[in-house]
Subunit: 67 residues, 2 copies
DNA sequence: ACATAATGCAATTTATATATGTCATAAAGT
DNA sequence: ACTTTATGACATATATAAATTGCATTATGT
């Protein structure tokens, strides 16, 4: 399922997928695919994203509330 | 770094690594290595562990407090 | 209408999470 | 002393996350 919370947090920080990717240390495609819910990042990538966006794992990755 | 919180949560539930692994749907080695902090599980494995142990991602995988 | 930026999509390659199997060891029970 | 259970360590194999590259499309701006 799509990760809407991640996308919203990114946009709150006024970052494009590419800019966030650069800060996190992954590629644009990785961010894009995570937002689309097309896969399954590793914990280290999740944590790096959270730290960049000042969120916690629960904020962004725990129990997508609705589809 | 070691994941002490995971080990404690597992023991609270009176499960061996092997029993937890079976419930989560991974191998004993995977659980063992995560507890030892020797790698980097995927998000889906983290979530499966949390659900089995009635914890959240932040409870078990966010910001190891010490060493 | 034409640029440009942001995003989705798809193929291939590389790195690594995870599985599988086996052995060693330490603790607990008998 | 001998089992049995739990765990750590290691090697190899497989599945898949992630990188890399390129192209299509949809905005947005001019």
């Amino acid at each position: 399922m799509k990760n809407v919370r991640l996308k919203m947090a990114r946009i709150e920080h006024d970052l494009s997928q590419e800019e966030l990717a650069k800060k996190v240390g992954v590629t644009r495609q990785t961010i894009g695919l995570i937002e689309l819910g097309k896969y399954n990042p590793t914990l280290s990538v999740c944590i790096a994203i959270c730290k960049t966006l000042n969120k916690t794992l629960d904020d962004l990755f725990w129990e997508e509330q609705s589809e």
